[in-house]
């Protein structure tokens, strides 16, 4: 499979990683490795999350109470920590998603004024 070279890969915007993690976990509990893979796969390999950023981010979200954890056994037959959205996490996801679309909309208007004026 063709993987984008390092040059084509996109840097994650500051603060968006939390949202992506929350979004990924909407489909059910997952361990850290799985979350990273999911983000990568769903972005068609354009987004690659560094392990060094992913795990601290996961722990940050746990600490805020948006995720909860549970030890389980992974497909590799290895003990792994599974992350799961809490109720507060779901609320937070909705809030972030809403904020994100408004942000994209606003930035889009600035970057592409014509389309913004005529479109939608």
């Amino acid at each position: 499979m063709a993987t984008p070279s390092d040059g084509q890969r996109l840097e994650l915007l500051q603060g968006t990683l939390d949202m992506l993690i929350l979004r990924t976990l909407k489909w059910g509990p997952q361990h850290g490795h799985g979350i990273g893979q999911a983000i990568r796969a769903q972005s068609d390999d354009l987004l690659k999350v560094e392990t060094g950023s992913l795990y601290p981010a996961l722990h940050r979200l746990v600490k805020r109470g948006w995720l909860k954890t549970e030890w389980g056994v992974s497909e590799a037959n290895q003990r792994a920590k599974y992350y799961q959205l809490t109720a507060a996490g779901k609320t937070q996801l909705i809030r972030e998603q809403d904020r994100w679309s408004r942000l994209v909309d606003a930035i889009g208007r600035i970057m592409n004024p014509a389309r913004a004026n005529t479109g939608e």
Binding site: G32, G34, E50, T51, G52, P56, H59, S74, E75, K81
Partner: protein, 872 residues
């Protein structure tokens, strides 16, 4: 809730396992899958740190990381035992020596006195620099003048040092060092008794019964803290005295006082001369500042009073003597004799500490160069500079802590040694102990050393292109590292040079003192103190005691001669006062001072027994009257330059006094200075005058070992007089050795410090060279391959070692000179070592460096060309 270390690690391990499995599933071979997965994960400790940082505060985090690093350091240091042991022992020596000296310095210079309001307690001193007298003490009329006129001093305490023969406590006659004090002495000193009472105003009155207070040290050591001694009556000198109390542990100043008695116990103090003669000085003076008065005010006022005295009684204060008054706190007075030597010692141990640290720095630097590969890998994996420093800090902390613990254990015996040493200069040193403040000092030194050492090694550059070789197992010596290694070795040599030159100076001085010719027969003469019952008591019985002792001792087998006098050379140093005299036919030129001479009273046979040649005339005889004198060669030559001095007349004081006829001329001997100076001395026969009644020194010339005579001499003296104390028998040689003890101790201590420094420096130089040779093996191989001879390589390494030493010596000479200049500003004159010690120290260091470079040089010349070229 908070995940612990294990949980974080396990989560990352799980991540790794999944990644590897996925990669293998995709068809990668297991080994490359593992490597790729590890690479993708990044530097695990850094990731883990990030995760932990979410949960824990930054400080906790750092401490935790440091603890982890320390555990790692402990593990890795057990693999480098030789290095660890060297570092720990080197640091222990440095820290132990510093802790010990610091303890002594603190107890002597910094610890408060037990005396009540010690900062209000002053010591008043009269000195006469013109005649070389540091402490002139005071006479009773002088003290009365101060008491009458001073308003800034609330009360004065006076203290005369007196040696008593004490009989009591179920023990035979023995000599005690005593102080005779007035009634207000203890009130002024602000001391309390631990038992009984101290002396008070009623004890000070002329009609009071004799009363004596024991110092704490005397009571505990000589009397085994026996409380029943209170109330006992002892014979103190010729009179009885009752023991009234024991003084609390305090500085028994002046001197090593054992008991303190009231004035009536000393017969000498009731003499008219004692109370009326302004020049009869034998009393030290203490004072307590009046409320509101400052030390400066007291100094000004007392100096005024003193100035008035000098103007009023010019005959008692010879212009030549330049009599001065000093007023300072008792604490300063106690500390001052020890201050200079202690500060110098403190500086010397600090230098040893610097040497130790720089040597340890060298070892650690060399180790870190060997570890550069490991550090580079860590850096490549994302360990930040902070994390690398922390790793290094953990290691140096572990080693320094080990060094400190060992050093503080060493400090305890070292303090004991150092305090006994320093007690020669200040009695307060005896109370030095290792305590909490020393622990703090040790901890401080540890942290300083650890931080410095952690900063020493070069970190792998964060700029990857600079290309630190990751290849494992090779040592590459970069110019920077090499420079640092050399710099530290140079510092060690420089510091050692300063210490060695100082030690060399002391050795030179001591050798000069010890080998100086004295004019006496040193080995065969036994000097014995047979004191009068109290200092300066006129005892008419002496006139019969000494001739009888001489007769009976002379009959002992092995005794070649017996004589008596008042002065044991060098031991009795309080007889340096000079008496003005004049001789027949000698007129001092205008403005010339009247000549002065030392007056000595000796028995017939004195010169023969002590081995002083009689140059002309004859010795005294048993039947001598008081109208004759023997003079030293200097007197004869100076006063009678053109004529024979024999049978000429001389007078003490002025020509109105009774004339003395010169019957003999003897060689010059100086019994006050160890190094002889031409001495004007006039001898009088012991039986001729009142001075003979004070005679208290016996000289016995032995054919064999003088010390074997001591028991029979003691027995015979006791047979003649049962109450006679017999003290301190010693040959003149040993007397002089005892007098030279401070010099010997100084020399010993500084030589020991210099030796330690030298040893560390040699190890340092050898280590640097060995390391640099090890790192240059390949270069040597190449050089041999292109035609260098082993000899050239050997010389090169040799030259390297000597060059380090030469630079070090130059730096040491410059630094030492600067140090002396600074010291001069702080302490007054400082003696610079002469050429010989400097050259000696330099050659010792060059030689040591040459020896140290020997092994590495041999190794360099034995490089196997093929092997060294293949090694990479």
């Amino acid at each position: 809730m908070r995940p612990d270390e294990g949980e974080l690690s396990e989560e990352l391990r799980g991540h790794l396992a999944i990644e590897i499995k996925e990669r293998i599933d995709r068809g990668e071979d297991p080994e490359s899958a593992r490597r790729a997965a590890l690479h993708e994960l990044g530097y695990v400790p850094a990731v883990r740190d990030e995760m932990r940082r979410v949960w824990y505060s930054r400080w906790y985090d750092q401490a935790e990381a440091l603890a982890r690093d320390i555990r790692f350091a402990l593990r890795s240091l057990t693999r480098a035992k030789a290095l660890t042991v060297t570092v720990v022992v080197t640091l222990a020596l440095g820290i132990g020596a510093n802790a010990a000296i610091f303890s002594v310095v603190r107890s002597v210079l910094l610890r408060p006195l037990v005396n009540r309001d010690a900062d209000r307690l002053i010591y008043i001193r009269q000195s006469a620099p013109g005649i070389g007298t540091d402490n002139f003490t005071f006479s009773v009329p002088e003290i009365n003048d101060f008491k009458a006129r001073a308003t800034t001093v609330a009360a004065f305490g006076d203290f005369s040092t007196v040696d008593f023969t004490l009989i009591g406590f179920g023990h035979g006659p023995r000599l005690v060092k005593a102080g005779v004090v007035n009634g207000s002495f203890f009130e002024v000193m602000g001391l309390r008794p631990v038992l009984g009472r101290l002396l008070n105003a009623s004890d000070g009155s002329p009609g009071a019964p004799g009363a004596v207070v024991l110092t704490h040290r005397f009571w505990t050591t000589v009397l085994q803290s026996d409380p029943s001694v209170i109330g006992q009556t002892v014979r103190l000198g010729p009179r009885p005295a009752t023991v009234v109390g024991v003084l609390e542990p305090s500085v028994p100043y002046p001197e090593e006082t054992q008991v303190i008695a009231n004035v009536v116990t000393s017969p000498h103090h009731s003499l008219a001369m004692m109370n009326t003669a302004r020049t009869h000085r034998m009393t030290e003076l203490f004072g307590r500042l009046a409320p509101g008065a400052t030390l400066e005010a007291a100094r000004a006022e007392l100096s005024n009073v003193h100035g008035a005295m000098v103007r009023q009684y010019p005959e008692a204060y010879a212009a030549r003597a330049r009599v001065q008054l000093q007023v300072r706190t008792l604490r300063d007075q106690l500390a001052s004799p020890a201050q200079t030597i202690l500060l110098v010692l403190l500086a010397a141990t600090a230098v040893v500490f610097v040497i130790a640290c720089s040597n340890v720095a060298n070892l650690i630097l060399a180790r870190s160069v060997r570890r550069e590969g490991e550090l580079a890998v860590r850096a490549a994996l994302g360990a930040g500079r902070g994390a690398l420093r922390r790793t290094l800090l953990a290691e140096s902390l572990v080693m320094c802590t080990g060094g400190t613990i060992l050093g503080l254990l060493l400090a305890k015996p070292l303090v004991a040694v150092a305090s006994r040493y320093a007690a020669r200069f200040s009695i307060r040193a005896l109370d030095a102990t290792v305590d909490a403040s020393v622990l703090w000092l040790g901890a401080g030194l540890t942290i300083v050393a650890a931080v410095l050492l952690a900063l020493v090694p070069r970190l792998p550059s964060s700029d990857r292109t600079a290309g630190m070789g990751l290849a494992a197992g090779t040592v590459r010596l970069t110019p920077g590292t090499n420079r640092r290694l050399r710099a530290f070795a140079t510092i060690q040599i420089a510091c050692s040079f300063v210490l060695l030159a100082g030690a060399g100076m002391l050795i030179a001085t001591l050798t000069a003192l010890q080998t100086a010719s004295t004019g006496y027969d040193m080995r065969q003469v036994l000097a014995i103190d047979v004191p009068t019952t109290a200092t300066a008591v006129y005892e008419p019985t002496r006139a019969t005691f000494f001739p009888e002792a001489a007769r009976r001792l002379g009959e002992l087998p092995g005794v070649q001669g017996v004589a008596s006098g008042l002065v044991v050379p060098w031991r009795d140093r309080s007889f340096s006062n000079r008496v003005p005299f004049s001789v027949e036919g000698y007129q001092p030129a205008d403005g010339e001072e009247r000549p002065t001479a030392q007056l000595r009273v000796v028995s017939p046979g004195f010169f023969g027994v002590l081995g002083v040649p009689v140059l002309a005339g004859r010795d005294f005889t048993d039947a001598e009257g008081s109208d004759v004198a023997i003079v030293s060669q200097s007197v004869a030559q100076r006063m009678f330059p053109s004529a024979d001095a024999l049978n000429r007349r001389l007078w003490f004081g002025t020509a109105t006094a009774k004339p003395l006829r010169i019957i003999g001329i003897v060689a010059d001997v100086d019994d006050q200075n160890v190094v002889q100076e031409p001495t004007l001395t006039i001898y009088q026969p012991i039986r001729g005058g009142v001075m003979g009644q004070l005679a208290n020194r016996l000289f016995v010339r032995a054919a064999g070992d003088p010390y074997t005579l001591v028991p029979s001499v003691t027995r015979i003296i006791r047979e003649i007089s049962a109450d006679q104390a017999v003290e301190r028998p010693a040959t003149l040689e040993d007397v002089r050795a005892e007098v030279l003890m401070p010099e010997r101790l100084n020399t010993f201590v500084f030589s020991a410090l210099g030796g330690i420094a030298l040893l560390i420096a040699v190890v340092g130089v050898a280590g640097v060279l060995a390391f640099s040779v090890g790192a240059r093996m390949r270069e040597f191989g190449v050089r041999l391959a292109v035609g260098s001879t082993p000899r050239e390589l050997r010389t090169g390494v040799f030259r390297d070692g000597v060059r380090i030493a030469a630079f070090g010596i130059a730096a040491g000479a410059a630094g030492g000179y600067a140090l002396v200049r600074v010291a001069e500003r702080l302490l007054g004159t400082v003696q610079l070592p002469g050429a010989l010690p400097v050259i000696g120290a330099a050659s010792v260091l060059i030689g040591a460096a040459a020896v140290a470079s020997f092994v590495p040089a041999m190794r360099a010349s034995r490089v196997d060309v093929l092997q060294s070229l293949r090694s990479e």
